[in-house]
Amino acid sequence: MFLGVWLFTGCKKMLDVDSTRLVNEEHMWVSMEDSRAALIGVYGLTRAALADNNAYWLYGDVRAGEFKAPTRQDLKAIIFNDLTASYPSMEALTDWRRWYAVVNAANIFLERIHEVKENDDRYTDNNMTVDIAQIRFLRAFAYFYMVRIWGDVPLITSSYDGNFENKPRDNQDKILTWAEQEMLAAAVDLPFRYSSGDEQQIGNYYNEDATRWMGALVRKTTAYAMLAHLAAWQGNYPEAATYSKFVLEMYPVGGLGYTETDDLTNANGFFYNKRENQLFGFNFDWGHIDASFTGHLEELTLASPLVNKSVPDIYLTKDSILSVFNELGDERFSLDTLGNPTTENYFMNFNGKYPIFSKIKCIMGGSTADPNFRTFSSAIVLTRLEDITLLRAEALAVLGERSGAIENLNVIRELRGLENFNEATGGNLIDAIFKERKRELMGEGQRWYDLVRYNRIRNNNPAFTKLINEGGIYWPINRSLLSQNDQLEQNAYWK
């Protein structure tokens, strides 16, 4: 009998098992630890979207068609613009789900963060303001990135948690306008640095010191840098000039500076782990046991003798290297008068069958001593000061402010050991700026978008212009997305 009574009362207890594998609604949004986990989660999801199948470089570098892919058929298909070919990586690249995970996580954050404020006294107004600004920026950035890949996409700014609706695609101009407003609003609240006595971010951010946060989070300069990119993509060069000017004026406040060539290409240099100079970066910190086999340019470009791999996934032929690195004294790569490479900063094994594009080579703990283990710790860097400097040069050049443009161009040329731009022999200024961008930002996921902007400005390549006009610069939308949401329509070019 007793047993029976115990059984009935004990039953409910026995069946309420709290999962140790996940956190349910009851236990979320109650403390600062939750807001930190959710905030960092949005960063983590953004990194995952960029790193998945090396999407950042396949979209940004491989698609530009300048690299060659000797073995990987999927990369060949991208190079030949066969974007509907069915390889697993292509299936992933045509799928925007990971970007919408960023958007949804951000939307939930914005809707629920007030609960932490209500539940946890430690969570200050200032902390919340800075958190919200970062989340708004990351959400806007996700849309900007998606618009560059797919053109029109559904603009969803609420989580619709549990009441999901299928949405049609929204006009990309509308999205970019919205994203610009969001980024501007975020920029107002973002600090220049974290845990460093910035007046907009008081005290140690989440009780971690400045070394934890350097380069890892979005800052005010980050927001303006991406705003400059966004405006340039829209062809709104006056705004691009304004936004880039802010970055170039205020970068010292954020502890940023220009990166010397050696540091840029060192195995433990600019790209290794995290640093302030990564103006917008996502690190894979070796010390945090976060190095990985994939999600790095090195996985595509490096091969023997740097790592144990006989053939690189992508490489540049000697001819195509020489067609851009054709100026003496370039610290990145140049030939001496005898035709021998003077430096191996950008390319190793230049005279071999496969010149190895070795600009980024953060192997394991930032050393090239051991080629055996292909795990990498380089950060995904979306922009840095040099990029914004050249972007400003581009904007000024388009706006006809040649001297300002040349001045900015020369900042980079000097930095890399080149002579100043010679108006007489340097050729078209726009061409020179884009050529500099190509050399400087090679392998940083920029080239494809540069090509699009370049062709929009110069309009001198009929095939590319046709691609732009027909919407062929966008990627097809994954078939599975189309079948699960009947409101979507395939990009016209890929129908």
Binding site: M14, L22, S159, D161, F164, W213, D290, S310, V311
Partner: protein, 990 residues
């Protein structure tokens, strides 16, 4: 330990145990017991050990469910329960997709209840195995969450049902209908295999069974680099002018250098890879005691070597039963079954790379030359790969027996733990060493109480009532850590700093701490059940009703409980109206219908919307955080789980008839059934614009309809020792599955390259139809000047002609159709037993009909362009790459460089008929008992026998053994051949 030592150890232990037992037991206790217990009490002791089903002849249960007797089953040199039962039970389909000893094998009773996309669904489709009332716990699939590839579960991945020694088993029953299953509750939703071990007798008895055998090394044709080169050259000759398809095209070095002896020399790797495998099994048991207390103890050892790659399994088993009757009305009984399994696993590179998570440069595959290959294999000797599993289950039961009323309370524990410790030295992985340690357990504890009232009212009426309560706690856990790049190849363990005063406390010392990864996971599932059952028999009529309610912690709080009924009717027509009839010796009609809940395997579903640490991406599936800080977000990669998820359940209707003719010389059981698994959760690809990979929604229903037939006949009854006896038994299952509903009322859905369509089977392939080849660009059909495309890519000469089903001149998924079935429509076995004098001869056939296989191995070989040189799992070539398999001439020579991937495996070009017939066992035995009698030996019976197993296979399939295919239906060539074995054995009763 060498083999003979094992045997010695076994006998010594036996002897010691036996002696000590005799001393303590026979002198005192047993004698006093004998005095006070009536003679028939033995009966009671053994009976109460039987399972929960009453032992009255209620006619709503089938008479016989297994084709062969346990005695016949035990002659087959099986290591697993699955192998013992394969082809013996109508309606039980067993997939043995590899002949490697101790690997996981799947069982399905009456079809598959859900589409099988991954190992997770397979896990949820397995029947329950009950050993002496203990519902055995398997491993939980949650470990797959941290795995990029699901070829094997992390850990030892040993088949846990290798813990059944058929020599300990008295009866095997398979419960397939609600009359039998419903009593076992939601665990039994996929059917029940009921094993009852041999019971104790009050007389002292010793039995022994031993066999020795050899698994025969297979004969295969090998190829070398030259052969492969010639094969590939055909394509270059056809499609290239210069021997290079494009300027980037890289021809693999190992094929291009004809002077390279490693690849172009003799292909004799088989001398190291294949060998004859030795096998033995020894089991001995002793039972005895008195009427008031008795026991049975059994010990066994089994060793089975595979025929390839140094594989094998060792099993040490011990089983102990004890019954005691301290009071006349009280019975205590306990059972413990303990097994240790030690498995030597294959050295497939694919499996190793999947475990390591890292792929070395794959430009040069293993060479087919034996010198090179054997030197390579020696590297493994500098490392280890230890796989141990300990399984122990037991119960302790008290039965209070007041004649009609019985009350049973029992405690059941089932625990299994697996260990896997690995060290791979540097040369095996491009100069990086790798160490990993896994420990995981699954544990089930049950506290069960039930009372029964068995009232034989009079000659016509019989009533049986039973009510009970079951509390069940399941918990699963694993710890897993792996590390790369140890300081050298001599420290093979992932050592941690053990000094708490050291700053480096608990940090790894032999491996860099940045390359050490640790995982810990734990999940629980509790189940509470209440049930009541009433059976009533009136002469020839039986009616039983079972009502139960089950609460699961993996069900959502609002939907925690499920009430399910089961009703069964039996009509013994023989007794009712054919008692005088000479022809009909048995005629029994059964009808039952009922419902059982299906459990959620994951606790994710009980929590509703939740948050998890998952910021992973392809190739990096374990990242829990960013910037050294753990994250919490919605489980975007897992999928959306909302509220209000109800229980899934299975409904079944079964109509059966048991027939016996001519004094049961011919018996047959025929069961027709309709089984529908309803309201199941399905991850629908949805809400991508909210970040989710899928949305888990209830509403999927799958119906399996079929017939089970078990026909036995004494064709030549054995009337005297001098005439020939022949008995035969045929068992057959015909099953068809159909998807009857999808969530949201959807009509069709595409998931992972599979199409689910309401009204169509769930196990069909979704394929393009291949109609040949476009010889030239001009042959590609054009509509309005636009040539036919495949997924937007224009087709050219050298590309396949894929049938344009919807006529839009665009080949895409809409031109795929459902074809063939992964699972056979007809599965059966045919057993024959001949006897003459003391001789007996057995022949056992096994067959599958109406199934198709995708010969993926051939597809991969032809698709060499996409599988060469890249650092990708698809480029991994095992040593068996150098084995000639399949028929190359069946396939046209497409342009392999085409981006439409002409040799893609999702087309009917590679779809083949996978039906087969096997002669699984020939056994010949001789009973020496008569001779022993003449010798007046103490030995009661000696039976010696020899068997040949897996004698031959007849199949239209052009690949290897069509059995070597797993639940996907794709034959990737990874299954290790099921060997032909020869055994010699004896059984002895003292």
């Amino acid at each position: 330990m060498p083999k003979n030592l094992h045997v010695k150890w076994l006998y010594q232990t036996m002897a010691v145990f036996y002696c000590s037992f005799l001393l303590t037991w026979s002198d005192g206790y047993a004698q006093t017991a004998q005095d006070s217990i009536p003679a028939d009490s033995t009966e009671t002791i053994t009976d109460s050990l039987q399972e929960k089903q009453p032992k009255i002849d209620f006619t709503d249960l089938p008479k016989k469910t297994v084709g062969a007797s346990v005695k016949e089953l035990s002659v087959f040199p099986a290591v697993s329960l699955q192998q013992s039962l394969k082809g013996q039970v109508p309606g039980l389909y067993i997939q043995e997709s590899s002949g490697e000893p101790g690997t996981i094998q799947q069982m399905y009773i009456r079809g598959v209840p859900m589409p099988l996309f991954s190992a997770k669904e397979v896990y949820q489709s397995q029947p329950l195995v009950v050993l002496d009332g203990i519902p055995l716990i398997g491993e939980h699939p949650f470990a797959y969450d941290i795995q990029q590839y699901d070829f094997n579960r992390i850990g030892p991945a040993t088949n846990l049902l290798t813990n059944i020694d058929m020599n300990n088993i008295a009866t095997v029953e398979v419960l397939k209908d609600m009359a039998g299953m419903a009593l076992y509750g939601p665990l039994a939703a996929n059917g029940v295999i009921l094993l009852t071990s041999k019971q104790v007798s009050s007389k002292l008895a010793i039995d022994a069974h031993a066999y020795f055998g050899v698994a025969q090394r297979p004969t295969v044709t090998t190829i070398n680099g030259e052969y492969e080169n010639n094969f590939r050259r055909q394509f270059y000759d056809l499609y290239t002018a210069t021997g290079k398809y494009s300027e980037d095209d890289v021809y693999p070095l190992y094929l291009s250098d004809s002077l390279n002896f490693d690849y172009y020399g003799p292909s004799n790797w088989t001398d190291t890879y294949y060998k004859n495998g030795l096998q033995h099994g020894v089991t001995a048991d002793i039972s005895g005691g008195g009427d008031r207390a008795n026991f049975r103890f059994s010990l066994g050892n089994l060793r089975q070597e595979g025929i390839a790659d140094g594989t094998g399994l060792n099993r040490y088993s011990a089983m102990f039963h004890v019954n005691m009757k301290p009071l006349k009305w009280l019975l205590f009984s306990a059972m413990i079954n303990g097994n240790r399994l030690d498995r030597q696993r294959n050295h497939n590179m694919r499996d190793r790379f999947a475990e390591v998570g890292y792929l070395p440069d794959l430009q040069a595959p293993l060479a087919p030359n034996n010198d090179i290959y054997s030197r390579y294999m020696l590297q493994y000797d500098n490392g280890f790969d230890n796989n141990y599993t300990n399984i122990i289950e037991g119960h302790a039961k008290l039965v209070a027996d007041f004649d009609k009323f019985k009350y049973t309370t029992q405690l059941v524990v089932d625990y299994n733990e697996g260990y896997r410790d690995i060290f791979y030295p540097r040369p095996l992985l491009d100069g990086n060493s790798y160490a990993s340690n896994y420990y995981g357990f699954s544990q089930r504890m049950i506290y069960e109480n039930f009372g029964s009232y068995d009232w034989n009212i009079n000659d016509h009426h019989h009533l049986y009532l039973q009510a009970g309560n079951i509390l069940q706690w399941d918990s699963y856990k694993y710890n897993y850590a792996y590390a790369y790049k140890g300081v050298n190849d001599f420290i093979k363990l992932n050592l941690l700093e053990s000094d708490p005063n050291n700053d480096n406390y608990l940090n790894p010392t032999a491996f860099p701490k940045q390359l050490v990864y640790k995982f810990l996971d734990r999940t629980k599932q509790n189940l509470v059940s209440f049930y009541g059952k009433a059976s009533y028999k009136y002469d020839a009529y039986t009616v039983s009703l079972l009502l139960r309610t089950d609460g699961s912690s993996n069900a959502q709080p609002t939907e925690r409980w499920l009430f399910t009924p089961a009703l069964s009717l039996g009509w013994d027509i023989k007794e009712a109206s054919l008692q005088e009839n000479k022809v009909w010796s048995t005629l029994n009609l059964r009808l039952n219908a009922g419902r059982l809940g299906r459990l959620n395997a994951y606790d994710n579903f009980s929590q509703g919307p939740s948050y998890t640490a998952d910021v992973t991406f392809t190739g990096n599936v374990t990242t829990p955080g960013y910037n050294g800080i753990a994250t919490l977000n919605r489980p975007y990669n897992f999928g959306w789980v909302g509220y209000g998820i109800p229980w899934a359940y299975t409904d079944q209707l079964d109509l059966g008839v048991d027939v016996g003719l001519l004094n049961d010389r011919i018996t047959a059981s025929i069961d027709g059934y309709i089984k529908e698994d309803k309201n199941q959760l399905l991850g629908i690809p949805a809400y991508a614009e909210y970040g989710y990979s899928r949305s888990y929604e209830p509403g999927m229903s799958v119906r399996n309809t079929g017939v089970d037939l078990l026909l036995s006949a004494a064709i030549l009854p054995k009337t005297s020792p001098r005439n020939l006896g022949w008995s035969a038994s045929l068992n057959l299952n015909f099953n068809q599955n159909k998807l009857t509903a999808l969530p949201r009322g959807l009509e069709e859905l595409v998931i992972d390259n599979r199409l689910l369509r309401v009204g169509a089977p769930i196990d069909q392939y979704w394929l393009l139809t291949n109609d040949g080849m476009y010889q030239a660009d001009e042959e590609v059909p054009q509509v309005d000047g636009v040539a036919q495309t495949y997924n937007g890519i224009t087709l050219h000469g050298g590309d396949p002609i894929w049938r344009d089903l919807n006529g839009d001149n665009r080949i895409n998924d809409e031109d795929k159709s459902l074809q063939g079935n992964i699972f056979p429509k007809v599965v059966g076995g045919f057993n024959n037993q001949f006897s003459y004098g003391n001789w007996s001869l057995g022949l056992n056939f096994y067959f599958n009909l109406g199934r198709k296989i995708i010969n993926e191995e051939m597809a991969n070989r032809f698709d060499f362009v996409n599988r060469e040189g890249t650092i990708n799992m698809s480029s991994v070539k095992e040593i068996t790459f150098w084995e000639k398999r399949g028929d190359y001439n069946k396939y046209p020579l497409y342009n392999p460089w085409s981006t439409v991937i002409p040799y893609r495996n999702e087309q009917d070009l590679f779809l083949e008929n996978g039906s087969f017939l096997k002669l699984r066992t020939i056994s010949l035995g001789y009973d020496l008992s008569d001779w022993l009698k003449q010798m007046s030996s103490k030995v009661k019976r000696i039976y010696v026998y020899g068997t040949v197993n897996n004698v031959f296979t007849v199949s239209p399939y052009s690949g290897r053994d069509p059995e070597l295919v797993n639940y996907t239906g794709y034959d990737a060539g990874y299954g290790m051949a099921i060997p032909r074995t020869y055994t010699l054995g004896f059984k002895m009763d003292l």
